[in-house]
Amino acid sequence: MLSFPLLKQSVKSNSVMWGSMTGVMTLLCIQFSTLDMTRSLLFQIFYGMMTTILPGIYVLVTANKLLASQVDRGSMAYVLSTPVKRSTVTVTQAFYLVNSLILMFGIQTGAHLLVNRANPVSLATFGYTMLSGDLTSKMILQVNLSALMVCIALAAVCFMFSGIFSSTKYSIGLSGTFIGVNILANMLAMFGRLGVSGLDKFKYLTIVSFYDYQSVLFKNSDWVQKLIFPAVIALAAFTVGQLVFRKKDLPL
Protein backbone atom coordinates (compact mmCIF):
# COMPACT_ATOMS: atom_id res chain seq x y z
CA MET A 1 0.00 0.00 0.00
CA LEU A 2 2.98 2.32 0.44
CA SER A 3 5.48 3.31 -2.20
CA PHE A 4 8.90 3.84 -0.66
CA PRO A 5 10.40 5.78 -3.58
CA LEU A 6 7.43 8.15 -3.40
CA LEU A 7 7.80 8.47 0.36
CA LYS A 8 11.45 9.30 -0.14
CA GLN A 9 10.54 11.87 -2.77
CA SER A 10 7.97 13.48 -0.43
CA VAL A 11 10.44 13.63 2.44
CA LYS A 12 13.01 15.20 0.16
CA SER A 13 10.79 17.82 -1.40
CA ASN A 14 9.12 18.86 1.86
CA SER A 15 12.11 18.74 4.18
CA VAL A 16 12.79 22.48 4.21
CA MET A 17 9.27 23.46 5.21
CA TRP A 18 9.02 20.65 7.74
CA GLY A 19 12.44 21.42 9.21
CA SER A 20 11.82 25.12 9.64
CA MET A 21 8.35 24.70 11.16
CA THR A 22 9.61 22.03 13.56
CA GLY A 23 12.59 24.21 14.44
CA VAL A 24 10.52 27.32 15.07
CA MET A 25 7.94 25.42 17.11
CA THR A 26 10.58 23.70 19.24
CA LEU A 27 12.52 26.90 19.85
CA LEU A 28 9.39 28.82 20.77
CA CYS A 29 8.43 26.02 23.15
CA ILE A 30 11.82 26.13 24.84
CA GLN A 31 11.70 29.91 25.02
CA PHE A 32 8.18 30.05 26.48
CA SER A 33 8.96 27.39 29.06
CA THR A 34 12.34 28.71 30.23
CA LEU A 35 12.32 32.52 30.16
CA ASP A 36 10.70 34.09 33.20
CA MET A 37 9.10 36.83 31.13
CA THR A 38 7.20 34.43 28.89
CA ARG A 39 6.67 31.47 31.17
CA SER A 40 3.27 32.59 32.35
CA LEU A 41 2.08 32.70 28.73
CA LEU A 42 3.23 29.17 27.85
CA PHE A 43 -0.34 27.96 27.62
CA GLN A 44 -2.17 31.04 26.40
CA ILE A 45 0.24 31.85 23.60
CA PHE A 46 2.37 28.83 22.86
CA TYR A 47 -0.07 25.97 23.45
CA GLY A 48 -3.06 28.20 22.82
CA MET A 49 -2.00 29.45 19.40
CA MET A 50 1.42 28.33 18.14
CA THR A 51 0.73 24.60 18.26
CA THR A 52 -2.11 25.11 15.80
CA ILE A 53 -0.89 28.06 13.73
CA LEU A 54 2.56 26.66 12.86
CA PRO A 55 1.41 23.12 11.99
CA GLY A 56 -1.59 24.75 10.28
CA ILE A 57 0.67 26.64 7.91
CA TYR A 58 2.76 23.51 7.40
CA VAL A 59 -0.20 21.30 6.48
CA LEU A 60 -1.71 23.98 4.26
CA VAL A 61 1.41 24.22 2.13
CA THR A 62 2.42 20.57 2.32
CA ALA A 63 -0.97 18.97 1.63
CA ASN A 64 -1.20 21.06 -1.52
CA LYS A 65 2.29 20.05 -2.60
CA LEU A 66 1.61 16.36 -2.03
CA LEU A 67 -1.17 16.07 -4.63
CA ALA A 68 -2.78 19.13 -6.26
CA SER A 69 0.38 21.04 -7.07
CA GLN A 70 2.02 17.96 -8.58
CA VAL A 71 -1.01 17.41 -10.80
CA ASP A 72 -1.19 21.10 -11.65
CA ARG A 73 2.48 21.30 -12.60
CA GLY A 74 2.49 17.92 -14.25
CA SER A 75 5.23 16.28 -12.21
CA MET A 76 2.76 13.63 -11.00
CA ALA A 77 3.08 12.15 -14.49
CA TYR A 78 6.46 10.70 -13.52
CA VAL A 79 5.03 8.92 -10.51
CA LEU A 80 1.99 7.58 -12.34
CA SER A 81 3.95 6.45 -15.39
CA THR A 82 5.58 3.87 -13.13
CA PRO A 83 3.81 0.80 -11.70
CA VAL A 84 2.29 2.75 -8.81
CA LYS A 85 -1.47 2.83 -8.29
CA ARG A 86 -3.27 6.07 -7.66
CA SER A 87 -4.50 4.66 -4.35
CA THR A 88 -0.89 3.88 -3.38
CA VAL A 89 -0.05 7.50 -4.15
CA THR A 90 -2.78 8.88 -1.89
CA VAL A 91 -2.07 6.43 0.93
CA THR A 92 1.67 7.16 0.79
CA GLN A 93 1.16 10.92 0.73
CA ALA A 94 -1.36 10.81 3.58
CA PHE A 95 1.05 8.59 5.51
CA TYR A 96 3.80 11.14 4.97
CA LEU A 97 1.59 14.05 6.02
CA VAL A 98 0.37 12.41 9.25
CA ASN A 99 3.75 11.03 10.24
CA SER A 100 5.58 14.26 9.54
CA LEU A 101 3.13 15.94 11.94
CA ILE A 102 3.66 13.22 14.54
CA LEU A 103 7.41 13.70 14.25
CA MET A 104 7.06 17.47 14.43
CA PHE A 105 5.07 17.25 17.67
CA GLY A 106 7.35 14.47 18.88
CA ILE A 107 10.46 16.64 18.64
CA GLN A 108 8.78 19.66 20.20
CA THR A 109 7.26 17.52 22.99
CA GLY A 110 10.61 15.86 23.62
CA ALA A 111 12.26 19.25 23.98
CA HIS A 112 9.56 20.45 26.33
CA LEU A 113 9.83 17.32 28.47
CA LEU A 114 13.59 17.80 28.84
CA VAL A 115 13.29 21.50 29.66
CA ASN A 116 10.44 20.92 32.07
CA ARG A 117 12.29 18.14 33.87
CA ALA A 118 15.32 20.38 34.39
CA ASN A 119 13.26 23.36 35.45
CA PRO A 120 9.65 22.51 36.41
CA VAL A 121 6.94 25.18 36.33
CA SER A 122 4.10 25.39 38.80
CA LEU A 123 0.60 25.46 37.38
CA ALA A 124 -0.09 28.62 39.32
CA THR A 125 2.38 30.43 37.06
CA PHE A 126 -0.13 30.10 34.23
CA GLY A 127 -2.77 31.97 36.19
CA TYR A 128 -4.65 28.90 37.39
CA THR A 129 -4.56 29.88 41.03
CA MET A 130 -6.97 27.12 42.02
CA LEU A 131 -4.51 24.46 40.81
CA SER A 132 -1.62 23.22 42.86
CA GLY A 133 1.56 21.43 41.90
CA ASP A 134 3.85 21.53 38.90
CA LEU A 135 3.31 20.88 35.21
CA THR A 136 3.96 17.16 34.86
CA SER A 137 5.44 15.19 31.96
CA LYS A 138 2.14 13.37 31.65
CA MET A 139 0.32 16.66 31.17
CA ILE A 140 2.77 17.75 28.48
CA LEU A 141 2.22 14.50 26.60
CA GLN A 142 -1.54 14.76 26.91
CA VAL A 143 -1.70 18.39 25.77
CA ASN A 144 0.42 17.62 22.74
CA LEU A 145 -1.61 14.55 21.88
CA SER A 146 -4.76 16.67 21.95
CA ALA A 147 -3.16 19.33 19.75
CA LEU A 148 -1.74 16.72 17.37
CA MET A 149 -5.13 15.14 16.81
CA VAL A 150 -6.66 18.47 15.83
CA CYS A 151 -3.72 19.20 13.53
CA ILE A 152 -4.19 15.82 11.85
CA ALA A 153 -7.82 16.76 11.22
CA LEU A 154 -6.73 20.12 9.74
CA ALA A 155 -4.20 18.25 7.60
CA ALA A 156 -6.82 15.77 6.42
CA VAL A 157 -9.18 18.51 5.28
CA CYS A 158 -6.37 20.23 3.34
CA PHE A 159 -5.41 16.85 1.89
CA MET A 160 -9.00 16.33 0.80
CA PHE A 161 -9.02 19.62 -1.12
CA SER A 162 -5.64 18.69 -2.57
CA GLY A 163 -7.07 15.38 -3.79
CA ILE A 164 -10.27 16.87 -5.17
CA PHE A 165 -8.76 19.74 -7.16
CA SER A 166 -6.24 19.49 -9.97
CA SER A 167 -5.37 23.13 -9.67
CA THR A 168 -3.29 24.68 -6.88
CA LYS A 169 -5.45 27.78 -7.11
CA TYR A 170 -8.52 25.97 -5.76
CA SER A 171 -6.69 23.58 -3.46
CA ILE A 172 -4.74 26.32 -1.68
CA GLY A 173 -7.68 28.70 -1.83
CA LEU A 174 -10.11 26.44 -0.03
CA SER A 175 -7.54 24.92 2.34
CA GLY A 176 -6.32 28.39 3.19
CA THR A 177 -9.83 29.61 3.91
CA PHE A 178 -10.47 26.54 6.03
CA ILE A 179 -7.27 26.87 8.07
CA GLY A 180 -7.69 30.65 8.35
CA VAL A 181 -11.28 30.47 9.60
CA ASN A 182 -10.44 27.74 12.11
CA ILE A 183 -7.42 29.49 13.55
CA LEU A 184 -9.01 32.93 13.57
CA ALA A 185 -12.17 31.63 15.24
CA ASN A 186 -10.00 29.88 17.81
CA MET A 187 -8.19 33.13 18.61
CA LEU A 188 -11.46 35.03 18.92
CA ALA A 189 -12.85 32.27 21.13
CA MET A 190 -9.73 32.59 23.28
CA PHE A 191 -10.46 36.28 23.82
CA GLY A 192 -13.94 35.16 24.74
CA ARG A 193 -12.51 32.89 27.42
CA LEU A 194 -10.40 35.78 28.66
CA GLY A 195 -13.56 37.72 29.32
CA VAL A 196 -14.57 39.55 26.12
CA SER A 197 -18.26 38.74 26.12
CA GLY A 198 -19.83 37.45 22.92
CA LEU A 199 -16.59 36.20 21.42
CA ASP A 200 -16.83 32.87 23.22
CA LYS A 201 -19.45 31.76 20.68
CA PHE A 202 -16.64 31.52 18.09
CA LYS A 203 -15.58 28.24 19.65
CA TYR A 204 -18.43 26.59 17.73
CA LEU A 205 -16.90 27.71 14.46
CA THR A 206 -13.59 25.93 14.80
CA ILE A 207 -12.47 22.34 15.11
CA VAL A 208 -9.54 23.63 17.15
CA SER A 209 -12.03 23.70 20.05
CA PHE A 210 -11.62 19.91 20.26
CA TYR A 211 -8.09 20.61 21.44
CA ASP A 212 -8.58 21.26 25.15
CA TYR A 213 -5.44 21.91 27.16
CA GLN A 214 -7.44 23.28 30.09
CA SER A 215 -9.08 19.93 30.56
CA VAL A 216 -5.63 18.36 30.81
CA LEU A 217 -4.43 20.88 33.37
CA PHE A 218 -7.63 20.42 35.38
CA LYS A 219 -7.13 16.65 35.15
CA ASN A 220 -10.59 15.84 33.82
CA SER A 221 -11.23 13.55 30.88
CA ASP A 222 -12.97 16.01 28.54
CA TRP A 223 -9.95 16.15 26.27
CA VAL A 224 -10.00 12.39 25.74
CA GLN A 225 -13.60 12.42 24.55
CA LYS A 226 -12.82 15.37 22.34
CA LEU A 227 -10.17 13.32 20.51
CA ILE A 228 -12.92 11.36 18.82
CA PHE A 229 -14.31 14.25 16.76
CA PRO A 230 -11.10 15.29 14.99
CA ALA A 231 -10.32 11.60 14.48
CA VAL A 232 -13.64 11.11 12.69
CA ILE A 233 -13.17 14.31 10.66
CA ALA A 234 -9.67 13.19 9.66
CA LEU A 235 -10.81 9.75 8.62
CA ALA A 236 -13.72 11.11 6.60
CA ALA A 237 -11.62 13.79 4.87
CA PHE A 238 -8.78 11.39 3.99
CA THR A 239 -11.33 8.93 2.59
CA VAL A 240 -13.08 11.54 0.44
CA GLY A 241 -9.79 12.95 -0.88
CA GLN A 242 -8.52 9.48 -1.71
CA LEU A 243 -11.72 8.39 -3.48
CA VAL A 244 -11.94 11.52 -5.61
CA PHE A 245 -8.27 11.36 -6.55
CA ARG A 246 -8.63 7.74 -7.63
CA LYS A 247 -11.53 8.45 -9.95
CA LYS A 248 -10.89 11.86 -11.41
CA ASP A 249 -9.33 12.97 -14.69
CA LEU A 250 -5.69 13.91 -14.33
CA PRO A 251 -4.37 16.42 -16.87
CA LEU A 252 -0.88 14.94 -17.01
Binding site: S3, G74, T82, D249, L252
Partner: protein, 304 residues
Amino acid sequence: MPDEIIKVSGLTKDYGNGRGIFGFDFSVKRGEVFGIVGTNGSGKTTTLRHLMGFLNPDSGSCGIMGLDCRKHAREIMQHVGYVPGEIDFPDVGTGTSFLKIQAEFMGLKDREYISRLVNLFKLDTDASLRRMSKGMKQKTALVAAFMSRPEVLLLDEPSTGLDPLMRDALIELILEEKARGTTVLMSTHIFKELDDTADRVLFIENGRQIDLADMHSMTETLPQRYRLGFKTQDDFDSFAAATAFRIARANPAHLHMDVEIPEQSVSGLFREIGNYDMRYMKYRPFTLEDRYTEMIEKGGKISA
Protein backbone atom coordinates in the same frame (compact mmCIF):
# COMPACT_ATOMS: atom_id res chain seq x y z
CA MET B 1 0.01 -11.96 -26.20
CA PRO B 2 -2.06 -10.24 -28.89
CA ASP B 3 -0.26 -8.78 -31.86
CA GLU B 4 -2.18 -5.54 -31.46
CA ILE B 5 -0.31 -3.81 -28.67
CA ILE B 6 -2.37 -0.63 -28.56
CA LYS B 7 -6.06 -0.65 -29.36
CA VAL B 8 -8.24 2.44 -29.35
CA SER B 9 -11.93 2.00 -30.14
CA GLY B 10 -14.56 4.70 -30.33
CA LEU B 11 -12.58 6.80 -27.88
CA THR B 12 -14.43 10.02 -27.12
CA LYS B 13 -13.75 12.76 -24.61
CA ASP B 14 -15.90 15.85 -24.93
CA TYR B 15 -14.57 18.95 -23.18
CA GLY B 16 -17.42 21.05 -24.55
CA ASN B 17 -17.32 23.79 -27.21
CA GLY B 18 -16.15 21.25 -29.77
CA ARG B 19 -12.93 20.57 -27.87
CA GLY B 20 -11.83 17.05 -27.08
CA ILE B 21 -11.50 13.93 -29.16
CA PHE B 22 -14.33 12.20 -30.94
CA GLY B 23 -14.61 8.57 -31.97
CA PHE B 24 -10.93 7.72 -32.29
CA ASP B 25 -10.35 4.25 -33.73
CA PHE B 26 -6.95 2.83 -34.42
CA SER B 27 -4.61 0.11 -33.37
CA VAL B 28 -0.87 -0.22 -33.26
CA LYS B 29 0.88 -3.51 -33.92
CA ARG B 30 3.87 -4.85 -32.05
CA GLY B 31 7.10 -3.29 -33.21
CA GLU B 32 5.38 -0.53 -35.13
CA VAL B 33 6.20 3.16 -34.91
CA PHE B 34 2.91 4.99 -35.06
CA GLY B 35 2.77 8.75 -35.43
CA ILE B 36 -0.01 11.13 -34.52
CA VAL B 37 0.11 14.47 -36.28
CA GLY B 38 -2.13 17.44 -35.78
CA THR B 39 -2.19 21.13 -35.07
CA ASN B 40 -2.05 22.47 -31.54
CA GLY B 41 -5.22 21.56 -29.69
CA SER B 42 -6.23 18.84 -32.13
CA GLY B 43 -6.28 16.12 -29.46
CA LYS B 44 -2.82 14.52 -29.52
CA THR B 45 -2.14 14.95 -25.83
CA THR B 46 -5.68 13.97 -24.86
CA THR B 47 -5.23 10.70 -26.75
CA LEU B 48 -1.95 9.94 -24.99
CA ARG B 49 -3.42 10.81 -21.60
CA HIS B 50 -6.15 8.26 -22.18
CA LEU B 51 -3.57 5.64 -23.07
CA MET B 52 -1.73 6.46 -19.84
CA GLY B 53 -4.95 5.93 -17.88
CA PHE B 54 -4.99 9.51 -16.62
CA LEU B 55 -8.36 10.36 -18.16
CA ASN B 56 -11.73 8.62 -18.08
CA PRO B 57 -13.20 8.40 -21.59
CA ASP B 58 -16.77 9.65 -22.06
CA SER B 59 -17.34 6.69 -24.32
CA GLY B 60 -15.27 4.08 -26.09
CA SER B 61 -12.16 2.56 -24.65
CA CYS B 62 -8.47 2.07 -25.11
CA GLY B 63 -6.20 -0.74 -24.13
CA ILE B 64 -2.55 -1.67 -24.09
CA MET B 65 -1.51 -5.32 -24.32
CA GLY B 66 -5.13 -6.36 -23.99
CA LEU B 67 -5.63 -4.52 -20.69
CA ASP B 68 -7.92 -1.53 -20.22
CA CYS B 69 -5.81 1.60 -19.82
CA ARG B 70 -7.93 3.13 -17.10
CA LYS B 71 -8.60 0.01 -15.02
CA HIS B 72 -5.22 -1.66 -15.24
CA ALA B 73 -2.91 1.34 -15.32
CA ARG B 74 -0.51 -0.17 -12.79
CA GLU B 75 0.00 -3.42 -14.71
CA ILE B 76 0.36 -1.57 -18.00
CA MET B 77 2.90 0.88 -16.58
CA GLN B 78 5.34 -1.97 -16.01
CA HIS B 79 5.75 -2.08 -19.77
CA VAL B 80 5.37 1.57 -20.74
CA GLY B 81 7.71 4.54 -20.97
CA TYR B 82 6.10 7.96 -21.20
CA VAL B 83 7.31 11.41 -22.14
CA PRO B 84 4.64 13.92 -21.13
CA GLY B 85 3.83 16.92 -23.30
CA GLU B 86 4.46 19.31 -20.46
CA ILE B 87 7.63 18.69 -18.55
CA ASP B 88 7.87 19.55 -14.90
CA PHE B 89 9.80 17.44 -12.47
CA PRO B 90 9.19 16.53 -8.85
CA ASP B 91 10.97 18.80 -6.41
CA VAL B 92 13.93 16.51 -5.69
CA GLY B 93 16.97 18.63 -6.49
CA THR B 94 19.23 17.41 -9.28
CA GLY B 95 18.72 15.35 -12.39
CA THR B 96 20.72 12.54 -10.82
CA SER B 97 18.45 12.19 -7.82
CA PHE B 98 15.38 12.39 -10.04
CA LEU B 99 16.63 9.57 -12.28
CA LYS B 100 17.63 7.56 -9.22
CA ILE B 101 14.15 7.82 -7.71
CA GLN B 102 12.54 7.01 -11.08
CA ALA B 103 14.75 3.92 -11.35
CA GLU B 104 13.58 2.88 -7.89
CA PHE B 105 9.95 3.37 -8.93
CA MET B 106 10.56 1.09 -11.91
CA GLY B 107 12.53 -1.37 -9.81
CA LEU B 108 15.57 -0.97 -12.08
CA LYS B 109 18.79 -2.52 -10.88
CA ASP B 110 20.92 -2.04 -13.95
CA ARG B 111 22.22 1.50 -14.14
CA GLU B 112 24.47 0.85 -17.12
CA TYR B 113 21.85 1.58 -19.73
CA ILE B 114 20.94 4.80 -17.91
CA SER B 115 24.48 6.08 -18.18
CA ARG B 116 24.51 5.10 -21.85
CA LEU B 117 21.42 7.23 -22.43
CA VAL B 118 22.87 10.08 -20.37
CA ASN B 119 25.97 10.01 -22.57
CA LEU B 120 23.95 9.75 -25.75
CA PHE B 121 22.05 12.92 -24.93
CA LYS B 122 25.13 14.62 -23.47
CA LEU B 123 23.11 15.31 -20.37
CA ASP B 124 24.55 16.99 -17.30
CA THR B 125 22.57 15.23 -14.58
CA ASP B 126 24.23 17.15 -11.75
CA ALA B 127 22.32 20.26 -12.76
CA SER B 128 19.45 21.38 -10.59
CA LEU B 129 16.11 20.43 -12.13
CA ARG B 130 14.75 23.92 -11.53
CA ARG B 131 17.55 25.62 -13.44
CA MET B 132 17.52 23.29 -16.42
CA SER B 133 16.83 24.75 -19.84
CA LYS B 134 13.90 23.46 -21.83
CA GLY B 135 16.14 21.15 -23.86
CA MET B 136 17.85 19.77 -20.75
CA LYS B 137 14.49 19.03 -19.17
CA GLN B 138 13.35 17.29 -22.31
CA LYS B 139 16.48 15.16 -22.39
CA THR B 140 16.03 14.23 -18.74
CA ALA B 141 12.43 13.23 -19.46
CA LEU B 142 13.58 11.13 -22.42
CA VAL B 143 16.16 9.30 -20.32
CA ALA B 144 13.47 8.61 -17.69
CA ALA B 145 11.14 7.19 -20.35
CA PHE B 146 13.71 5.04 -22.18
CA MET B 147 15.80 3.82 -19.24
CA SER B 148 13.66 0.84 -18.30
CA ARG B 149 13.74 -0.37 -21.92
CA PRO B 150 9.94 -0.59 -21.99
CA GLU B 151 8.00 -2.62 -24.55
CA VAL B 152 5.77 0.35 -25.34
CA LEU B 153 6.82 3.98 -25.65
CA LEU B 154 4.25 6.76 -25.55
CA LEU B 155 5.95 9.98 -26.56
CA ASP B 156 4.15 13.32 -26.56
CA GLU B 157 6.12 15.67 -28.80
CA PRO B 158 9.39 14.09 -27.67
CA SER B 159 11.70 16.41 -29.56
CA THR B 160 10.36 19.70 -28.14
CA GLY B 161 13.26 21.95 -27.25
CA LEU B 162 15.97 19.63 -28.61
CA ASP B 163 18.66 21.02 -30.86
CA PRO B 164 18.98 19.45 -34.35
CA LEU B 165 21.82 17.15 -33.29
CA MET B 166 19.89 15.84 -30.32
CA ARG B 167 16.83 15.44 -32.48
CA ASP B 168 18.84 13.16 -34.71
CA ALA B 169 20.11 11.27 -31.67
CA LEU B 170 16.50 10.78 -30.60
CA ILE B 171 15.54 9.49 -34.05
CA GLU B 172 18.46 7.04 -33.89
CA LEU B 173 17.32 5.89 -30.47
CA ILE B 174 13.74 5.38 -31.63
CA LEU B 175 14.97 3.35 -34.60
CA GLU B 176 17.15 1.29 -32.28
CA GLU B 177 14.19 0.57 -30.03
CA LYS B 178 12.06 -0.24 -33.05
CA ALA B 179 14.64 -2.77 -34.18
CA ARG B 180 14.36 -4.36 -30.75
CA GLY B 181 10.63 -4.81 -31.27
CA THR B 182 9.44 -1.90 -29.15
CA THR B 183 6.08 -0.42 -30.04
CA VAL B 184 6.21 3.36 -30.28
CA LEU B 185 3.35 5.81 -30.40
CA MET B 186 4.48 9.39 -30.78
CA SER B 187 2.76 12.67 -31.40
CA THR B 188 4.59 15.46 -33.11
CA HIS B 189 4.29 18.31 -35.52
CA ILE B 190 7.79 17.82 -36.83
CA PHE B 191 7.26 15.78 -39.96
CA LYS B 192 10.88 14.88 -40.45
CA GLU B 193 10.87 12.68 -37.36
CA LEU B 194 8.00 10.66 -38.73
CA ASP B 195 9.39 10.55 -42.28
CA ASP B 196 12.45 8.90 -40.77
CA THR B 197 10.85 6.57 -38.27
CA ALA B 198 7.13 5.97 -38.65
CA ASP B 199 5.36 3.01 -40.21
CA ARG B 200 1.96 4.63 -40.12
CA VAL B 201 0.80 8.12 -39.33
CA LEU B 202 -2.58 9.26 -38.11
CA PHE B 203 -3.64 12.78 -38.98
CA ILE B 204 -6.03 14.47 -36.62
CA GLU B 205 -7.71 17.84 -36.72
CA ASN B 206 -10.12 19.40 -34.24
CA GLY B 207 -10.44 16.17 -32.32
CA ARG B 208 -11.27 14.01 -35.33
CA GLN B 209 -9.28 11.50 -37.32
CA ILE B 210 -8.93 12.72 -40.85
CA ASP B 211 -6.44 10.36 -42.43
CA LEU B 212 -4.27 7.36 -41.75
CA ALA B 213 -1.17 7.20 -43.90
CA ASP B 214 0.85 4.06 -44.45
CA MET B 215 4.35 5.37 -44.96
CA HIS B 216 5.56 2.34 -46.87
CA SER B 217 2.84 2.31 -49.49
CA MET B 218 2.70 6.09 -49.58
CA THR B 219 6.21 6.54 -50.87
CA GLU B 220 5.86 3.73 -53.42
CA THR B 221 2.53 4.45 -55.04
CA LEU B 222 2.31 8.19 -54.88
CA PRO B 223 3.26 10.31 -57.88
CA GLN B 224 6.67 11.92 -57.80
CA ARG B 225 6.93 15.65 -57.58
CA TYR B 226 9.24 18.00 -59.39
CA ARG B 227 9.63 21.65 -58.63
CA LEU B 228 10.05 23.78 -61.73
CA GLY B 229 11.47 27.29 -61.59
CA PHE B 230 10.87 29.56 -64.59
CA LYS B 231 12.77 32.59 -65.73
CA THR B 232 9.85 34.71 -66.90
CA GLN B 233 6.27 35.24 -65.93
CA ASP B 234 5.18 34.43 -69.49
CA ASP B 235 6.85 31.02 -69.40
CA PHE B 236 5.38 30.36 -65.98
CA ASP B 237 1.88 31.21 -67.19
CA SER B 238 2.01 29.38 -70.46
CA PHE B 239 3.46 26.22 -68.92
CA ALA B 240 0.72 26.31 -66.31
CA ALA B 241 -1.91 26.60 -69.03
CA ALA B 242 -0.45 23.96 -71.35
CA THR B 243 0.92 21.18 -69.16
CA ALA B 244 -0.63 17.75 -69.11
CA PHE B 245 0.51 17.13 -65.56
CA ARG B 246 -1.30 18.07 -62.39
CA ILE B 247 0.05 21.14 -60.64
CA ALA B 248 0.12 20.39 -56.96
CA ARG B 249 0.98 23.89 -55.96
CA ALA B 250 2.15 27.02 -57.69
CA ASN B 251 3.92 30.06 -56.38
CA PRO B 252 3.71 32.92 -58.92
CA ALA B 253 5.73 35.25 -56.72
CA HIS B 254 8.78 33.01 -57.04
CA LEU B 255 7.82 31.73 -60.48
CA HIS B 256 7.95 28.12 -59.42
CA MET B 257 5.45 25.29 -59.20
CA ASP B 258 5.33 21.66 -58.07
CA VAL B 259 4.02 19.23 -60.65
CA GLU B 260 3.02 15.66 -60.04
CA ILE B 261 4.55 13.13 -62.36
CA PRO B 262 2.97 9.67 -62.45
CA GLU B 263 5.38 6.76 -62.37
CA GLN B 264 7.25 6.02 -65.57
CA SER B 265 6.33 9.32 -67.21
CA VAL B 266 9.18 11.58 -66.21
CA SER B 267 10.38 11.78 -69.84
CA GLY B 268 7.08 13.42 -70.73
CA LEU B 269 8.00 16.20 -68.36
CA PHE B 270 11.42 16.59 -69.98
CA ARG B 271 9.77 16.95 -73.40
CA GLU B 272 7.40 19.61 -72.09
CA ILE B 273 9.97 21.77 -70.39
CA GLY B 274 12.22 21.76 -73.46
CA ASN B 275 10.26 24.68 -74.86
CA TYR B 276 10.64 26.90 -71.81
CA ASP B 277 13.38 29.00 -70.31
CA MET B 278 14.03 27.25 -67.00
CA ARG B 279 15.89 28.40 -63.94
CA TYR B 280 15.94 24.98 -62.36
CA MET B 281 14.18 21.70 -61.95
CA LYS B 282 14.48 19.59 -58.86
CA TYR B 283 13.04 16.41 -57.51
CA ARG B 284 11.04 16.80 -54.33
CA PRO B 285 10.30 13.61 -52.48
CA PHE B 286 6.70 13.47 -51.36
CA THR B 287 6.72 13.95 -47.63
CA LEU B 288 4.21 13.71 -44.89
CA GLU B 289 4.16 17.46 -44.81
CA ASP B 290 2.95 17.58 -48.42
CA ARG B 291 0.24 15.15 -47.64
CA TYR B 292 -0.74 17.04 -44.53
CA THR B 293 -0.79 20.43 -46.22
CA GLU B 294 -2.88 19.10 -49.07
CA MET B 295 -5.33 17.54 -46.71
CA ILE B 296 -5.75 20.66 -44.62
CA GLU B 297 -6.20 22.72 -47.78
CA LYS B 298 -8.88 20.34 -48.98
CA GLY B 299 -10.69 20.96 -45.73
CA GLY B 300 -9.73 17.80 -43.92
CA LYS B 301 -12.10 15.19 -45.26
CA ILE B 302 -12.70 12.28 -42.95
CA SER B 303 -11.54 8.96 -44.25
CA ALA B 304 -10.69 5.59 -42.88
